[in-house]
Structure formats: C-alpha cells, structure tokens
Homo-oligomer: 389 residues x 2
Amino acid sequence: MTRKLKASGSVVSALQFFEKFSEHCLAALETAREEGRPIAGVYCIYAPLEIIRAAGCVPIGLCGKRQAPIQAAEAVLPASLCPLIKSSYGYAKTDTCPFFSAADFIIAETTCDGKKKMYEFLGRIKPMHLMHLPYDQSLGSAFRFWNAEAERLGEYLTAHGGVPITAGRLREEVEIGNAVRALMWEIVRINADGSPLLTGMQLLPVLESKSFMVEAAPYLAALRELRDELLELRKSATGTTTDRRFRILLTGTPVGKGSHKVLQLVEESGAVVVCLDNCSGIKGLDSPVQTEGDLFGNVARRYIEIPCACMSPNPGRLQTVEALCRDFDIHGIIDLTWQGCHGFNVESQVVRERAEGLDVPFLQIETGYSESDAEQIRTRIEAFLEGIQ
Amino acid sequence: MTRKLKASGSVVSALQFFEKFSEHCLAALETAREEGRPIAGVYCIYAPLEIIRAAGCVPIGLCGKRQAPIQAAEAVLPASLCPLIKSSYGYAKTDTCPFFSAADFIIAETTCDGKKKMYEFLGRIKPMHLMHLPYDQSLGSAFRFWNAEAERLGEYLTAHGGVPITAGRLREEVEIGNAVRALMWEIVRINADGSPLLTGMQLLPVLESKSFMVEAAPYLAALRELRDELLELRKSATGTTTDRRFRILLTGTPVGKGSHKVLQLVEESGAVVVCLDNCSGIKGLDSPVQTEGDLFGNVARRYIEIPCACMSPNPGRLQTVEALCRDFDIHGIIDLTWQGCHGFNVESQVVRERAEGLDVPFLQIETGYSESDAEQIRTRIEAFLEGIQ
C-alpha cells in the first residue's frame, strides 16, 4: 500500500502545470535526445546544474522516492541503508525509472557514506562521474578543491558528448538558474505574508519540479503564472478570517511524491506545513549565483554553500531554521530523518537545541518509506500538536 | 557482562610486554606531560603520526572499544550509530578514558558520516582538529588537497604547543614509523610460514599496541624481542605435527580489547584467526613511507593510500584480501561489520564477490559490542566452519 498523493483541487489553477510536470518533462527529454543533447542523470542538489547545461547537456533528477524498488535493491545493499539510497539503486537495477533509462551518464556527489558506496554498484549499470565534495565550507583549500571538481566535471561532460563551456553560455545558464530560484522563492514566501495560501502537499510538486526542468522558457513562464496568481490571491485574501491551523516548518531529509507520508500526516492532523526546509524544498533558493567576477568559481561557490547535514559543522542550516521560524511565524518544527541517515540523525540534536533556544516546539521523526509505522507517527504528531496548544 | 580477555598463557614470553602495554603507556604519557610535550589524542589510522611526532607532540590512540560508555553517549547520539562512535563519545563524555583525559587536543579525520558529525559534540569537550579526507586515492587533486591538510595539521600543532617541523626530525620519525611497521609485519607474517604460532587473540594486544607508542626505543626493543622469539620458535617447530585448525582471515571493522567478541568466538569454535585485516590489524603495515624525495609529501601519500572502506572505490582492500588468502593459506574469510557502519556494510558485498572468485568461503557478521547476540553468532560461525569441511 502506498499513500496516495491527491491532486490539489485547489482554487490556484496554475498549480495544475506542476502536478503533471513529469509528463511534460519526459516529452521534453525525448526531444532533447532526438536533438543529440547528452542526458545527465543527477543525484543530488550539489550537482552544479548551470555547468551541466552550459556544456550542452540536460541535467535531470532521478527517481528514489518510492518504496516499490527497495526490495530489489536489498539483494545487493544492506537493509540498514536509508530508503532514498535503496530506492534509487532499486529503480536503476530494475530499470523502472524513465529518467534513469533516458540518461547517458550519471553525475553524483559524495554527500554520504551510503550513497558513495552505492555508486560503486550503480557504476556497473551506467557510466558514473562522482564529484568529491569537501565537508567544510569555510576552508579555502576545500573551496579550491571543489572548484577543481567543477572543472573536472566540465572535462567529463566534454568527453561524453558535451560542448566546451563558453563564458557566454555559462552566463545565460546562471541567469536562468537565478530566475528559477528567485521565482520559486517568491512562491514559497507567499505563505510568510499571512494565512497559508498553499499547503505543504500543494507546495510539494512545485518544489520538486525544479529538478526536472528540460526547457527553461515554458518552465519560467509557468512559475511566473503561479507567482502572479498567488500574489493576486494574497491581495484579495487580505482582511478575511485568520487561519487558525498550526504553522509547521518541515525540515530534515528530502521529501517527494511517494515519500510524502510524514508531510501528509501532519496536514491530516490539522496543521499546515507552511515551509519545507530540505533539499527537495527551499534549501538554497535564496542563494543566487553571484554574477560579478569569476562566474565559474561563483557557480562552484554557490553549490558548496548549500547547508546540508553532510557539512560539518553546518551553521547555515541553523541560521535558515531561525530565519524561517521568524519569517513564517512557525508554531512547531518537525525534523524528518530517513532511517540510516547518520548525518541528519546526529544533526537533529543540534537543531533541537536551537529550537529550544528559540522556544519553538520540536519533534524528530525517524522513519522509512514503508506505511507500516504511519498510524504510530500520526499519534506522535497529534500529541505534538496538542502540546503546542 | 563483558567477554573476558584472557592473558595468553603462551609459551611466547615476549607477549607479556604487550598484554600490559597500556600501563607502560600511561606512565610514559605522564612523563611526556611533565616534559611539556603536547598530547594529541588521535581517532583514526589516517592521522599522520610521523608529522605529529616531528612537531614534538605525542599522538595517542583513544578508547572506543567497550560497551560500558555507550548508554551515556545515546543521550546525545542516535542509537543507530556504530558502537565504536558511540563508545568513543561516551568515554569522552563520562571522562573515563585516561588517554582522552591526558590529551591536550584531538586530531581526527572525516572517515565516515557518523564520526564526522559526532566530532561536532566532541569539540565541545576538548579542542578538535578535523582533517578532511578525500575519498579517491587515485585523483591527483585529491592527493594535493590531502597534502594541504597535512600542512594545515602541522600549522595547528605549532599553534598548540608543538614545534616547527624540521626535515631532520621528520626523517627520524619516518625511520621510526617504518621500523615499527616492518617489525610488526614480520611478527604477523610468522603465521604465514607454517602452523600458526600465535592465535588471533594473542595477536590482538600486539597489533593494538602500535597506537599507544609514546617512547620509540623500548617499544622497538620489545617488538624485536617478540620477532626474534617467534623466529626461534618457527625454526624449532619445523617438522612437528601439522596444525589441523581452520585458518581464518578476519577482515572488516576494527577490533580491540573489549570488542573482541567475534574474534574470540571464532577461536572458541576451534578455528584460528591467523591474520586480522582491519585498521586495528595489519592494514598498512606493509606500506612504508618512501624515504626518497619530498618526505612530507611521502608521509601524506602513505596515509591516503590506506585501503579503508571509506575510500570509493577501494581496490587496495581486495588486493590485500587476495594476497593474504594466498600467503596465509586461508580456509575462510569472516568479514566483521559494526552495526551502522554503512561503508564496510556495503563493501562486504564487493569482498564477498572477490572471495567467490577466489573460491574461499565467506561469512559476513554484522553486530555491535553487546553480548546479547553472542550465542547466535557462535551458531553461525560453527555452521560456517562445518561448511568448510
């Protein structure tokens, strides 16, 4: 049994584009293939998309958010790995992810032990390029190493059907990337300005779509349309009855269609997730690539500064959580940890301490993709929400 | 209840020095402190000891191999982390490790996600210096980054009471380090040349001692004495009845006094662990620091080449396993994985495949420090040994 993701049924009509986005995406990918553009499957948000696109390749997010392929993965991988890793490998092994099938090669980064070692098996299925990610954003030598990794990526792309990266093409892609992030951030910020206009479940497909942009123009147009509609709604909503639902910040490990169990349970329990602070959510949206100076280095810098728990220490996450609690008027933080994800699991204690300092109620939920613990989690969430009252 | 480590009761009298080595070590540490030499607690075998010693500091291994402090650690850390990480932090938190207490600061490396994030908490107890370890030994840029990390370590040591490293002092320490490794390797190799002269349980305190050398001269003398006694024994043992016990290679995660459960169970089941291929065992013993050319770079190179599962890919481990199976006439491989150690857990499948290629029986055992599963493991080991027959 899998938790069913309902279409929004919202008054926000521009949401529909995002609910069917993967279909658009597959059609656009097919066109890109016909045009001879290499398809690069990417596994994580540290992959510098602007560089991949400037090399004439199409970066595309890969599947890994459903329970179904996990059993096949466990024939090779330990059961104790996180569901995201097992699901990702299971999709590849069973050839059931159309994005993985379409990819000519895979770009990944050493974000965690489990992924890093899983990629050794993935490399048997499809060509793999692994970027070595340093774990200290403040260290000058670590940045130089990462910058060299970005250059090594460029060389790999050129050697695998991409074109040499020109300053002009890179600038175009930086402008597109910045425009996507800025629009997405405006859309998410709409909930900061009053009663929530979008639930977390409605935000989910919008946020997730950013990993699947093939053609920029129609995607940017759809984002603008949604942004404009929301701004109109916000104007007309002024003065109406105040929404009394608890405003929750969902932080921690990534969430997507198929792994939305906790998000849905929170909202079924009567609260609303007004913001998702994770890498499938707002992480890095407020961080554009700087456009002055060394553009290539700026791209590398922007990516290494992403505040994931794989960084140690990771002060950016605490700063973000604090800013979101203030700006989104958060009543409670729910920190989601996928089972086996040591990074987010250990960091949860650090986030808890910050939440206590902010006097914001905090709940960590450690779970997998299976539905077996759903009712137990529901009970914990209900108790947490009662505790806020 | 903790599995009791028995003194060897062996005919090899030179073993006694190593069975009481930690007492020698604590006394020597006290002398070093009185002389004003900074004490550097080190967490892993990637820490370049020659550099620490050449800077006038005393590197010393830290506790982390017993169950007792784990409960205290779990007040802060997730239970799903490996017992080694939890035990290490628990010792520090409860101030029950005399080596940790004696240390002025801690040197550690980003070998795994759990340790890396645990160090954020350890840094609240004692000054921490974290070396950023790349995960690809073949990449030139990764080596340059690691070399810069070794230089950064030197700067840290100088800033914390150490002396600037001279070429002469570094050469002395390289020669000492190479002599320790060469003698230790000769001692371990004794089992390759015929019936086992030392059981795994007897080898354990000898192998473990290398992390606790404070003064080189008496330590080297004790290693020489043991080596000579074993060579004599080997001569006199020639022509005696052939040992019929199964010869086992124990590989995987580190083992020490207090976490020797699986090692002891194997030998209680009638087999003998003739070699321990892990970082508390022979890993890197056959790999000296090259003495020609850039000595500092040679030290850095020697350490990054250690074939731990934290490297991806990790071909050195497979080559080592293959060579040991041949040279030590191995009848079966037992691969120990501490619960929650994703790196060794995933890599176990790769080692299993190599074992199948070599036609050597293979068993993975995933466990923690607790005794609760000891009888279950005994049953599995007995079944494995029966399968060899």
